[in-house]
Symmetry: C2
Subunit: 411 residues, 2 copies
């Protein structure tokens, strides 16, 4: 008798379904396609010469080299956590290295939090729209999403309070240059959201993946920094924060981190140990040295290059899109959010865009916990050149006009 | 109102408890302690010059370097999977690269399998004793363990069959140089275990972490290779196999892999994507190049050095231990398993060993799913020199004699 493999799959492991972004990326990888689909950094920005120097230095040092190739503790290298703590302190959030856990990218931070904090049916507040990858990480625990609408300043406070009144005590938020919309919360909205969470004894998971990618004006204080203003101890508080080197340095190291009160960190260290022992020692050592060597000069370059791409996308949208298509003008991050006229189906548009115009984007519906937003699209400006971005937006705008006319004629 | 953090921890996330090995390692790290506790490779064996050369080559190549620092697919780099498939084919197990998933060490393979195949109460056959780290990975799903006793040739077939008759359809096994006992299954026992699993339509998870560390005679075919003898297709079969570079090359890359039928791989790719996107691109690229450069010469060195350490431990045990202490004589791997006379408490012995003799080991109880084996110890010979190993075993033997005399006097 031979095993029937699929019959062995656990019930909750069947819930996870293939990602729209992932399948799209396969098509959009063809060189003739102008892709606004992936949230992939521009590889020409990677500080390759700094990495070359760091690897050479580390491997030339017999003791440091061998130590970087050995097992290490599940918490992460103390020197790296110390650098992160200093960097966070510079942003106004004072935390001990014992409040920091190094993770395999911010994505593993989301997975650990899902396994730590969620059970089937746990109410979880998310923005509408929210980060698809986070909802994929949460899916293994089947939470009950409570979607909160957004305006230009952040989550709608009335909806947020209604969610807390309905019993929710956990929210996943992206105050800075949200994936997918690119929006950032205003300072006042940050204070109001935090005050609300404190009043109800709720926890806020702050995803700060894009917080360093600010292109206009000064950075705003994080929820973690604002929370710290009133906290007596780093083991009290309302905010868990996720960070990463993926958007500022390189993604391939898979180095993220998570800042949380000690009782939660301690438990996640055990989870880390049970699920993959620790993040690659050599990557932690190399990312630390590269960050020390490359920052802050490298961050300036990254901001300048992405700012030009953002400008190219926003001006092309302004120049080419019909008046009934609206879009965000993000002050940072990697994404512009497009809203088509009511009745437009962004998924059908994508098929036409790939076929007729060789342009790719991500239909917005997947980012909504309630599967609304069928007329929305996420456009990433991180990968292409300003010229190619302008070309792609013009093609997409032309297609939208054509489809719109057809819709008009059919009606 | 401030959040009460611990009240947010999910019920099943409270189940995981701190590892004995982990806490021990902290004490055993002091330089004056001769530690047989950790299963840590000898860092002097790491092929540092090959790694130095590989990093320099990769980072000097503009295109390959930037590509190695970018995101990559969740399945793992095709070239690395291809190298692994070729290596497995050399060991008699023919599988496609589509049957292989790259994981963050074999430990993540265990975690993915736990999440894929286990639900609370799922019957899971494990050896008595079994690998503690595997049971920690499985703990998040609270399986119902069915322990199967071992003799010198492998699991007891009558107990194995009774487990299948009792409804178990899943077993976690280490046929080669098991952690913690160092034993390997005989060829006949491999065939018998496999035939039994096939008869009951069960799945076998074969942990092959130590299979390359063979010191005496020829390697034996893996369960995966034996399974393939009769399988028409790589998508049928009875065996899922876990592999890793941690024991042969270096652990710090966190590169493991998992070979399974496609329907299971496809689902685990989604899980990988949701839990940490993918294993570090640069580590995959570097491990592949280092393996190509260093194998098989490096494996020869590793075997020679560990064989000498194994010999040192076994002859010291033979020379110094009292006659009523028994121990395994492993033909590979990193561990010797010690059985003290009935009534001895290995945990109490450890405390005395650390205090009086500055020697560390792991009490065996933690490796038993039923928490039996209180009079057993795991001794690792991988880390120290043959001289230091002999010294440590002599100290431990002296302590055991002293304790034994006290026990004798008290009785």
């Amino acid at each position: 008798m031979r095993a029937d493999w699929t019959s062995f799959i656990a019930e909750d492991a069947r819930a996870l379904t293939a990602s729209e972004i992932r399948d799209l990326l396969k098509v959009a990888e063809r060189p003739e396609v102008i892709s606004f689909a992936g949230g992939v950094p521009d590889a020409t920005l990677f500080p390759l010469s700094e990495f070359r120097a760091v690897y050479a230095e580390l491997m030339a040092d017999e003791a440091a080299g061998r130590s970087a190739l050995q097992y290490s503790i599940s918490e992460g290298l103390p020197d790296l956590r110390s650098w992160i703590a200093d960097d966070m302190a510079g942003d106004g959030a004072k935390r001990s290295i014992d409040n920091i856990l190094i993770t395999n990218g911010a994505q593993q931070g989301l997975d650990l939090l899902a396994r730590l904090l969620l059970s089937p049916g746990t109410q979880l507040i998310v923005e509408k729209p929210s980060y698809l990858g986070a909802m994929q990480a949460f899916a293994c625990r089947s939470p009950a999403y409570v979607g909160v609408g957004m305006d230009a300043e952040g989550p709608l406070l009335a909806e947020m309070e209604a969610a807390f009144q309905g019993g929710a005590r956990l929210a996943y938020l992206q105050p800075d240059f949200q994936n997918p919309t690119g929006l950032r919360y205003s300072l006042q909205r940050r204070r109001d959201v935090l005050a609300l969470a404190q009043r109800y004894g709720a926890l806020l998971i702050e995803d700060a993946a894009y917080c360093k990618l600010s292109y206009d004006g000064a950075a705003l204080p994080s929820l973690l920094a604002l929370d710290g203003e009133g906290a007596d101890s780093a083991d009290a508080g309302t905010v868990i924060q996720l960070g990463t080197f993926s958007k500022t340095l390189v993604p391939a190291m898979r180095i993220g981190w998570l800042t949380a009160p000690r009782p939660l960190i301690d438990r996640m260290v055990l989870m880390m140990q049970a699920s993959n022992l620790h993040v690659s020692t050599v990557n932690q050592a190399v990312a630390l040295r590269a960050a020390k060597k490359a920052f802050p000069g490298h961050l300036g370059t990254v901001r300048r290059v992405y700012r030009a791409k953002r400008d190219a996308m926003v001006s092309a949208l302004t120049d080419f899109m019909p008046g009934n298509v609206t879009f965000t003008r993000p002050e940072g991050g990697m994404y512009v959010w497009l809203t088509l006229p009511e009745g437009f189906d962004a998924r059908a548009l994508l098929e036409q865009a790939l076929e007729a115009e060789k342009v790719a984007f991500v239909p917005g519906q997947a980012f909504f916990c309630d599967k609304s937003g069928t007329n929305t699209c996420r456009l990433s400006f991180s990968a292409g050149s300003p010229e190619r971005i302008r070309d792609g937006i013009e093609r997409l705008a032309n297609l939208i006009r054509r489809v719109h006319n057809q819709v008009g004629e059919a009606a």
